[in-house]
């Protein structure tokens, strides 16, 4: 299997938005690459203090201290910057990526990517909008032409930047990129159970972004104080993985610092949150009626983001003062709207329309396009639908098994991605889907590879019959050995072999026998001189013997 090395660079200090976004893109790049028969070796270089998110997503991350950490550790900034530049340059040089994927800061935040951008790798830049004055800096716009592909995230309400003059052909526009899309989130009941929300409670998400903002503690505390007397509300305080303040405890309160909080958003009834890129779009994509406040950031214009959603009727705006505190009046006003049924419905519908989809898959396709042949990529995209990976993940199919399965199906002519998904769904239906797929592959390799949809279906139907009969033995290890040694032959009729085998296995099971004895019986009756009919005759005789034993 060919491989593709990707190095993603995400700078984060007081947040984890950049890291989250590159992981969202890498996640889909890996999936699509797999469907294109390519192994994606992805490395993440990051300064985010919440780099364990990469681990959770199954990516290897090399971590540098963030500038915040350096400041707190009282290390001279110049020493750190010198070291960081060298470290990044050497790391990229040693990893020799095919694609270098960078988020938001094209030259890094202290020019550390400058020397790196002349490596032979294809360079892909994810351009999340930044404040105009930041974008006009030379340290920003001068680096843009060095990228082979710019994936520009178009945020509603953001004005055109004019930053791409002269190389517009390298730019592709996408919508918000999220780590999990609406369809991947937990069901409401599950989410509420996971968050510890009582059935009857009105659940309010309280978030201050990744938790690293210096105002986060005051913000969260002011909101918690506001709700302290409201017994019918349950607060889920999403402090974020980077939160370093005093945790808040109390009745009707769930303290949440884990990453991937969005998975449980369907369990919420409303949200009061900072308008960082991820929190903002994740809440709206999940259709949660939300009121947002803005945090002051160097490059991120949260107020503009909120304004666009308010204009679309998709969210409410509440003001926070310079210390991050929210006034009771503002909260009271927001909560009155958020608890009103008609208002909530309108907000929820408008929010879902405002952020209709997750563009991570599309961004991944655009990133891969710089190295994978377009037709090949189109074929892979046809298969790499969210439903397909949802199916694979639910069945816990490991990468190697999936790779073998895709290779096997690859020979079937004109098999569309959705057809393949349907076939796989049939095979994986039931517990231990990975074992089922392995069993199918062990069975299928005895027969010629299917050349069309009909042959695929025939083989799968045969397998399902045999699998049912084998499952009854409740011995995965034994049935795997049985299948491995079973002398099925491509020269004899598949249907006849299936019927005979099913009949035999059912007889063996009904007689209280084990799968090992079944193997012994077939071997004893197997007469190789009968050639292609050997197994059929052996199955017939063995079935007869088992039934005779039962008759006694």
């Amino acid at each position: 299997m060919r491989s593709l090395t990707v190095v993603a660079y995400a700078v984060n200090g007081a947040g984890l938005g950049h890291l989250t976004r590159v992981l969202a893109v890498l996640r889909w790049m890996r999936r699509i690459a797999k469907c294109a028969g390519t192994r994606l070796d992805a490395y993440v270089l990051t300064t985010s203090e919440a780099s364990d998110l990469a681990l959770r997503e199954g990516f290897a991350a090399f971590k540098l201290p963030s500038k915040t950490a350096i400041r707190d550790a009282e290390i001279p900034k110049e020493d750190y910057l010198r070291l960081a530049r060298q470290w990044i340059w050497h790391s990229v040089g040693l990893l020799k990526p095919d694609i270098l994927l960078v988020d938001t800061f094209p030259g890094g935040t202290f020019g550390e990517l400058g020397p790196v951008l002349d490596v032979p790798a294809k360079k892909v830049f994810i351009h999340r909008a930044v404040k105009d004055d930041f974008a006009r800096l030379d340290g920003f716009k001068a680096f843009l032409p060095l990228y082979d592909r710019i994936i520009a995230i178009e945020e509603p309400g953001a004005a055109p930047t004019g930053l791409y003059d002269g190389f517009e052909w390298r730019v592709r526009k996408v919508g918000p990129i999220l780590l999990r899309g609406r369809d991947e989130l937990h069901a409401r009941a599950d989410a509420r159970r996971r968050l510890g929300i009582p059935d009857e409670a009105f659940a309010v998400w309280v978030g201050a972004g990744g938790g690293g903002d210096h105002t986060a503690e005051r913000t969260l505390r002011s909101i918690a104080d506001f709700f302290s007397e409201k017994n019918d509300c349950h607060l889920v305080i999403g402090a974020g993985p980077l939160y370093r303040g005093e945790p808040l405890r109390g009745r009707n309160l769930t303290w949440h610092t884990e990453p991937l909080a969005a998975l449980d958003f369907p369990g919420l009834d409303a949200a009061l949150s900072a308008a960082g890129f991820n929190s903002f779009y994740e809440l709206l994509n999940a259709g949660i009626p939300s009121a947002f406040f803005a945090q002051e950031k160097i490059a991120d214009d949260q107020l503009r983001r909120i304004q666009a959603a308010v204009d679309a009727g998709a969210a409410l705006y509440i003001t926070a003062d310079s210390t991050g505190e929210l006034s009771d009046d503002a909260l009271d006003f927001a909560m009155r709207r958020l608890t009103d049924d008609a208002s909530r419905t309108a907000l929820s519908e408008a929010a879902a329309t405002f952020v209709p989809t997750n563009f991570a898959r599309e961004a991944a396709r655009l990133a891969l396009q710089v190295v994978i042949d377009r037709h090949e990529l189109d074929d892979a995209m046809e298969l790499a639908a969210p439903e397909f990976f949802d199916l694979i993940e639910r069945a816990q199919v490991d990468g190697e098994t999936l790779e073998r399965a895709l290779k096997w199906f690859d020979d079937a002519d004109d098999l569309a991605g959705d057809e393949l998904t349907v076939f796989l769904a049939k095979i994986l239906d039931g517990p231990a889907g990975g074992d089922r797929l392995n069993g199918f592959l062990a069975f299928a390799k005895r027969f010629p590879k299917p050349t069309d949809e009909h042959e695929c279906e025939q083989l799968i139907e045969s397998w399902l019959v045999i699998q049912d009969a084998l499952t009854a033995f409740n011995n995965p290890r034994g049935t795997a050995t049985f299948l491995r040694d079973l002398p099925l032959t491509r020269r004899a009729d598949l249907e006849a072999q299936t019927i005979a085998l099913e009949e035999f296995l059912k007889a063996v099971h009904a007689g209280g026998e084990t799968i090992y004895r079944a193997q012994a019986l077939i071997d004893r009756h197997l007469d190789p001189s009968l050639g292609d009919r050997a197994l059929l005759v052996a199955l017939e005789k063995a079935t007869e013997e088992v039934r005779d034993e039962q008759r006694l």
């Binding site: 011995n475 290890r477 034994g478 050995t481 007689g511 209280g512 026998e513 084990t514 090992y516 004895r517 193997q519 012994a520 019986l521 004893r524 034993e549 039962q550 006694l552």
Partner: protein, 422 residues
């Protein structure tokens, strides 16, 4: 050396090498013999294991079978119930046979001298032989039966006058008529036809008598079998149960079986022995295949090379060349000496594996290879898929020959002196 001399020597070397290739399979007969021996030992060990797990038809032993072997059939079909049902069935069968007149009168029917059926069969046979001798003079003639059956000499004869067959039949018919001294074929038909009918009748009588005799004999055999089985029913049922259990044991996963046998030294030893023998058989097969293929390849390549030289120097334009002796010697170098030395080394390695018998050293709690245990880690086994795969997956694995215990070293990657810290 002139070319003719070279060609003579080369042809001789080719013949020798080809002979060696032909005899190569025989060189490995030792493996076939040892394979059979080990298979027998395995069979015996399996029987022992079945016996240990089912020492008798007692409820406690039956109840333990599933726990110790994973064989659950006796939970569904209790051998003691089965024995009771079988006793009823056999008793009923014996009673039925005893009530059958054919069985009751078996002596009268089958007495070799005066038995009713014996005499009937003898009489039918005599009649049949008599008539066969009369009919023989006709049927001895080639084509007579064919002409008769196709209606030759009657209106039913169908051959067309325009077919060759017609004239061939005509000639044959005339020859037979002339040989047997009659006027025409119709006379022969008239004489042969009644004899043939009688022969068929007597043949049927004889067959009926034979079938009746067989029927009585079958009844007797059935009775004797049933009697024998009933008298020793406990033994038979036990053997049948052990056979079924043994078949299960022959295929059950060894590690799982060992797990089930845990705590019982006898069972544990037998499982290890069976597993070890199976591994020996697997390794021996791979080893001999590998060595055989290598030798065949070396010899075949040598033959091909010399044949190439023969073709080259056999061309007329090279007929008067003089060849350098040293070169000729190099071309005709005999690979068998080297092969013989290699084979000697092979057999030493082979014997280590094939005659290994310290199966009890194997430890299922450790991740170890039977191959290393048998060879003490001294023989490269990477040509065996199991060994190769294991080494691929555990690149830092090494066999500790001092303790006969494998000690997989922790995987610290390629960094010398790397340590895992929590």
């Amino acid at each position: 050396m002139n070319v003719n001399q070279f060609l003579g020597l080369a042809s001789q070397r080719v013949a020798e090498l080809e002979q060696s290739i032909g005899q190569l399979r025989g060189e490995y007969a030792k493996n076939d013999q040892r394979t059979v021996e080990l298979q027998q030992v395995r069979e015996t060990a399996l029987t022992e294991l079945a016996t240990v797990n089912l020492p008798g038809l007692v409820p406690q032993a039956i109840a333990e079978v599933e726990t110790r072997t994973g064989y659950g059939k006796f939970r569904q079909i209790d051998p003691l119930d089965y024995k009771a049902r079988e006793r009823v069935r056999l008793s009923q069968l014996i009673a039925n046979i005893q009530a059958d007149p054919n069985f009751i009168n078996r002596d009268q029917l089958l007495d070799p001298a005066a038995g009713e059926l014996t005499l009937k069969a003898q009489q039918a046979k005599q009649e049949l032989d008599l008539i066969q001798s009369a009919i023989g003079r006709y049927e001895a003639e080639p084509e007579f039966v064919s002409l008769f059956e196709r209606g030759y000499g009657t209106d039913d004869y169908q051959e067309s006058i325009f077919s060759l067959r017609y004239y061939s039949d005509w000639r044959k018919g005339d020859e037979i008529v002339e040989k047997l001294g009659v006027e025409d074929f119709a006379v022969l038909r008239a004489a042969y036809e009644p004899l043939r009918r009688s022969r068929d009748l007597y043949a049927k009588d004889f067959q009926d008598a034979q079938a009746a005799i067989e029927n009585v004999r079958r009844l007797i055999a059935q009775f004797n079998d049933a009697r024998e089985r009933l008298d020793n029913l406990a033994h038979y049922v036990l053997e049948e149960c052990r056979t079924a259990l043994r078949e299960h044991l022959a295929y059950v996963d060894r590690e799982q079986l060992f797990e089930w046998s845990k705590g019982d030294r006898v069972r544990e030893a037998l499982v290890k022995k069976i597993h070890g023998i199976e591994k020996q058989l697997e390794y021996m097969k791979k080893m001999t295949e590998q060595q055989f293929q290598n030798e065949t390849r070396v010899l075949s390549e040598a033959v091909l090379k010399i044949k190439g030289k023969i073709t080259k120097f056999g061309r007329p334009k090279n007929a008067y060349l003089t060849l350098n002796d040293a070169e000729v010697q190099a071309w005709l170098a005999d690979p068998r000496q080297k092969l013989s030395a290699r084979r000697e080394r092979f057999w030493r390695d082979y014997d280590r594996v094939a005659y290994y018998d310290r199966y009890d050293y194997y430890d299922y709690t450790r991740d170890m290879l039977w191959w290393d245990l048998m060879t003490d880690g001294r023989v490269d086994g990477n040509f065996i898929p199991e060994v190769y795969d294991y080494h691929q997956q555990n690149p830092n694995y090494h066999w500790d020959s001092g303790t006969a215990q494998p000690t997989p070293s922790p995987d610290y990657g390629d960094i010398p002196g790397g340590v895992e810290v929590s």
